[in-house]
């Protein structure tokens, strides 16, 4: 899954976007890894993440069998425990942080826990470099995201792209991002309401609500 790599934006726009994830390697360190993955998430939960996910659900998930009154009072409280309890087989688990300090503090404790599982940080190149330096480790490998190649003009404007690509698996469609952007712009939803709607659609839990709020607020001031 390159579901966190190709987020649209310049380096500065990732100032509040730090994703730390752990992933076991099939056949190499996936034996008995589930308790380690759960412990990884427990550490992350201590540092006030903006979102967390286990590959099947994020901290906000779709709800089945809603009562019509839910349109006025839907629960938007992140549920870390459900994410942790839901880890039942080897796979990627992740946490999103909106501040550098929280991300660094979390990474330090993950290093100390020494799970032996690969840990990656997805953010701007410089942010990750600084995180490694601050935490006293050396980066092993790096994968750069090059710009999208769109010779046939399929992609929407940068505001929609910024919101939509935070779910790298494409579960937040351009149409849904555009719709929420319009609803906020026209005062029909608050930024918080729009963000929770978008967040629920991302099953991996890597959608960053803080960055989404900032992008929505900026987009309301300037239409492109």
């Amino acid at each position: 899954m390159t579901n966190t790599l190709h987020r649209y934006g310049h380096a500065e726009s990732f100032k509040d976007d730090y994703i730390i994830f752990a992933i076991p390697s099939k056949g190499k360190n996936d034996e008995d890894c589930i308790p380690k993955l759960k412990q990884f998430l427990r550490i992350c939960a201590k540092y006030n993440p903006s979102n967390m996910g286990n590959g099947n659900r994020g901290s906000l998930a779709p709800e089945k069998g809603l009562h019509p009154t839910a349109h006025w009072k839907r629960d938007a409280t992140p549920d870390w425990e459900k994410v942790i309890d839901g880890v039942n087989k080897p796979g990627t688990v992740s946490a999103v942080f909106a501040s550098e300090e929280q991300a660094h503090a979390c990474l330090k404790e993950v290093i100390a826990a020494d799970f032996g599982i690969s840990v990656n940080m997805s953010t701007s190149v410089e942010n990750a470099k600084r995180a490694a330096e601050t935490c006293g480790i050396k980066r092993h490998s790096v994968e750069y995201a090059l710009a999208f190649n769109d010779p046939h003009d399929h992609l929407p404007n940068s505001q929609v792209l910024g919101l939509s690509t935070m779910c790298g698996h494409g579960m937040v469609s351009f149409n849904m991002a555009r719709k929420m952007l319009d609803m906020v712009r026209e005062g029909r939803r608050t930024t918080e309401q729009a963000v929770t709607t978008l967040m629920r659609l991302c099953p991996c839990g890597v959608y960053n609500p803080e960055r989404a709020k900032r992008l929505l607020e900026a987009a309301c001031k300037e239409q492109r």
């Binding site: 390159t2 992933i23 990627t92 990656n120 050396k138 494409g170 709607t197």
Partner: protein, 259 residues
């Protein structure tokens, strides 16, 4: 994908099966109520007649109308490459992805002096047909480039020397797929040129991830080359080097072959 639309003559929402990539977002991603469809349509009709804006939650299906189809090959391939919570049996990873360099500290998939590429088609949000992916794999194969073995697209090739994909799936549309290759640093410019050139001929978008192993925590080779070639990159996925082999059987094997 825009696969769901309201048919003007029947006044019902329908799914365009050809455009649908079976990502499951409409079914799994939507919250649901279970209201009476007749009542919901009546409310909508009344609101439309009175020119009221009918404004429900965009992620709630009021009638719980969606159901997933029982899929068989070749259509099943759409779901495998589009729904991130469906596991691909060949990789053991959910969705279309692979471990790439995320586990490079354990697998050394991309070692010193090597460059790994993830060429992703259809992303973001556009979708792609396997015939378009084959355009690229054929050109790459002709250049003598080898494909990563542990990758879902490689598993669908009938011949990795030609880059030909299975004929039964060639017209299927998916949300996205990743072709993974590896070269030396000398070939980076040529490979990126090929991706751009083939991209012009296929009706989709491509997103390239390019990776390398750091030396003493620094990438002194690939980043300077990308700068020199004029490629913009601001974001990266960085493997922090905390992984190691812990599975007992692999450890025993490593000890047995050690000099």
């Amino acid at each position: 994908m825009g696969a769901i639309y309201v048919d003007q003559t029947r006044n019902r929402a329908l799914i365009n099966d050809d455009a649908c990539v079976e990502c499951g977002t409409c079914y799994r991603g939507m919250s649901t109520e279970h209201l009476n469809p007749v009542m919901v349509r009546a409310v909508r009709k009344a609101a439309k007649f009175l020119r009221f804006r009918f404004e429900p939650e965009p992620d709630v299906c009021p009638t719980g109308a969606f159901e997933m189809n029982e899929l068989e090959m070749p259509r099943l391939i759409r779901q495998i490459f589009s729904d991130p919570v469906v596991e691909h049996k060949s990789t053991g990873i959910k969705g279309r992805g692979t471990e790439e360099v995320k586990t490079n500290d354990v697998s050394l998939r991309v070692n010193s002096g090597e460059v790994g590429y993830t060429i992703e088609f259809g992303r973001p949000g556009v979708g792609v047909r396997f015939s378009d992916i084959q355009e690229m794999t054929r050109v790459l194969a002709k250049e003598g480039i080898t494909f990563e073995k542990n990758n879902p697209i490689t598993h669908l090739m009938i011949d990795t020397r030609t880059g030909d994909l299975r004929t039964d799936i060639i017209n299927e549309k998916i949300l996205s797929a990743i072709v993974e290759i590896k070269t030396t640093i000398k070939e980076v410019e040529r490979v990126l040129e090929i991706v751009e050139q083939v991209g012009e001929r296929i009706d989709t978008v491509t997103a390239v991830g390019i990776s390398t192993r750091c030396e003493d925590g620094e990438d002194k080779v690939l980043a300077p080359l990308l700068d020199k070639l004029g490629y913009y990159y601001s974001r990266a996925k960085t493997n922090m080097g905390l992984g190691r082999i812990t599975n007992q059987i692999v450890l025993k094997h490593a000890e047995a072959v050690a000099p």
